[in-house]
Amino acid sequence: MALEKITQVSGCGVFVPGDDIDTDRIIPARFMKCVTFDGLGEFAFADAKLAEKAAGRLHALDDSRFNGATILISGSNFGCGSSREHAPQALYRYGFRAIIAESFAEIFFGNSTTLGIPCVKMSKNDIADLAALIEKNPSIQVTIDLTESKVTTDDVDFAAEFSLPGHAREPLMNGRWDSIADLVDGLEDVKTRVATIPYLSC
């Protein structure tokens, strides 16, 4: 299965502040009553947007200055909670192609990588600096370079290192981020292994 080799993601960014942003927040459960992922994009952060409106504030995704952002930036433990793949599916369909955060919950990280969405970890200070640059100039181009492990911007001298484990980086860069092809390649070994395990072979 030929997939795009993801070595770099460039685009405008949007900062959604907060730690422990869970997948219920990213896509509330009522929108999961569906048998396909199509159409989930418009519901990304649906209730968080409503809550901000009710409090007389504007959620970053409702702020027209950040329309068209393709890189989502947030705090620590992003994507915690439910294993719902609907969360990264909704973000992808909304238009996001990469996420920068202080840290990621494990299941969300894996689900996102499988969809070809790099989730890169950057320090709190660098995230604050990047968020400030975007706030000042929303059209600034943010580039995530997987080869160099660096996030840069086009108009000012911003460069920050990020971390991305090799087991995610290599598949993204080699166009093998969806593991199904590799798993199918191993099917003969699967059958051999099944035959050796008592509870499966009897």
Partner: protein, 469 residues
């Protein structure tokens, strides 16, 4: 050098190392439900693949089923379509389906154990983060996304890196009125909601040795709330006794062989751990959450914390929590008025949870302003509870006795909070909007504490309400 249970199970189920360094891990048992599987079946079809081992996947419906009006078609056409889709997918692929009319339907993490499908030394995956529950049997059980459900359907394997293992010892005897729910809330409070990222949690110590199988399930269930995708307890006689005679448990000579294997899979005495953390059971008191993450927890006699008194890294979320929960920092937790009491979920919807509460509420009444519902975790639990007279005790006390499902743990079925109602809940997540209303408020606690709140109409110390000494 000794091995952990995780080491042994991993070794036995490793098919090969993938080019990216992860393991192609054989998943012995695959559990599916209506919400995260339909897209996966679609993907399998689109790829021209088929379900490789249909006899190793088991299905049920739980998230979207109504718990009161259960006749089909459901009033919600989307929910109705999801059940029909699962029914069709199971029929076409030959997967066993514990369907609504079977008498065996229920929350997937309750059905697996009660059927004897969940067994020690196995690998289990399910498109639901609370799959960690099954670790209570000494299984390595993962919550997975839908693309991985596809992977398991098509190849019976998935790509995953081997986690590190943190052993969490809890030693000693819990005080009366303190339950396994308090133990896991206490652990998460101290290790953090992200402390377990990259780890499997091995729960051990004399407190766990003394726990029943159902108490162990409550703890393992919430491993993921501490960031650990996997949580497990080494299997022992308690585990084997629970499994004996269940529909899918091994029988006859196979039983003896299985028990021998299960004993051998437990962590070796000299196993090496990546980290070890110790807790004392006597130091744990009834625990409740006050905020919007399961780590924002306090003992029942503590006050709502002042965010500015917390470590710097916790302050922003704490401020957000105080605002959402409409609480005042520094005020006691006891006395906070509740609107709804929810007893159920894959965390605390088992027979022993209902028995413990029924024992204490007999002859008492739910406060007039509180809506209180009891949702057995499975039709099996409901049926036994009804035969034992528990349903009647709950009804007489003013609880609604419902049919099995996920109910008010998450907002995917008609059981939802309305507006900013505050719910005393035996479930696992207090996230903003989790219980179906964007402004709804959740306080997590043990079933007995939910019952105490239901009767008094406010957050209460169950030990005082029920005279538990």
């Amino acid at each position: 050098m000794g091995k952990t249970l995780l080491d042994k199970v991993w070794e036995e189920h490793t098919v090969r190392t993938l080019p990216d360094g992860r393991t192609q891990l054989l998943i012995g048992t695959h559990l599916i439900h209506e919400v995260t599987s339909p897209q996966a079946f679609g993907m399998v079809r689109d790829l021209g693949l088929k379900v490789l081992y249909p006899n190793r996947t088991f299905a049920t419906v739980d998230h979207i089923v109504p718990t009161d009006q259960r006749a089909e078609p459901f009033s919600d056409p989307l929910a109705d379509a999801m059940v029909k889709e699962l029914r069709k997918n199971c029929a076409e692929s030959g997967v066993t389906f514990f369907d609504l009319p079977s008498g065996n339907q229920g929350i997937v993490h309750i059905v697996g154990p009660e059927q004897g499908i969940t067994q020690p030394g196995t690998t289990i995956a399910c498109g639901d983060s609370h799959t960690s529950t099954h670790g209570a049997f000494g299984a390595i059980a993962f919550g997975i996304g839908t693309s991985q459900v596809r992977d398991v359907l098509a190849t019976q394997t998935m790509a995953i890196g081997k986690p590190k293992v943190r052993r969490i010892n809890v030693d000693g005897k819990l005080a009366p009125g303190v339950y396994s729910k308090d133990v896991i809330l206490h652990i998460i409070r101290h290790l953090g909601v992200n402390g377990g990222i990259g780890y499997a949690y091995e729960f051990a110590g004399s407190t766990f040795d003394a726990f029943t199988q159902e108490e162990r399930m409550t703890v393992c269930n919430m491993s993921i709330e501490g960031g650990a995708r996997v949580g497990y307890v080494n299997p022992d006689e308690t585990t084997f006794e629970y499994l004996r005679g269940r529909p899918y448990s091994p029988k006859g000579a196979e039983w003896d062989a299985a028990v021998a294997r299960w004993k051998a899979v437990a962590s070796d005495k000299d196993a090496v751990y990546d980290d070890i953390v110790n807790f004392k059971a006597e130091a744990i008191l009834p625990t409740i959450t006050w905020g919007i993450t399961p780590g924002q927890a306090i003992f029942i006699d503590e006050a709502i914390p002042n965010p500015d008194d917390l470590p710097e890294k916790d302050r922003a979320t704490a401020h957000e929590a105080i605002e959402h929960m409409k609480l005042t920092a520094g005020t006691p937790a006891i006395g906070i008025k509740i609107d709804v009491a929810f007893l159920g979920s894959c965390t605390n919807g088992r027979l022993s949870d209902l028995q413990e509460v029924a024992k204490h509420i007999r002859g008492r009444k739910v406060a007039s302003h509180v809506k209180a519902i009891v949702v057995p975790g499975s039709q099996g639990v409901a049926s036994v509870a009804e035969k034992m007279g528990l349903a009647e005790i709950f009804r007489e006390a003013g609880f609604e006795w419902r049919g099995a499902g996920c109910s008010m743990c998450l907002g995917m079925n008609p059981d939802k909070l309305v507006g900013d109602q505050l719910c005393a809940s035996s479930s696992n997540r207090n996230f903003k909007g989790r219980q179906g209303s964007p402004t709804g408020r959740t306080m997590l606690m043990s079933p007995i504490m939910v019952a105490a709140a239901a009767l008094t109409g406010e957050v209460s110390d169950a030990r005082k309400v029920f005279g538990i000494h």
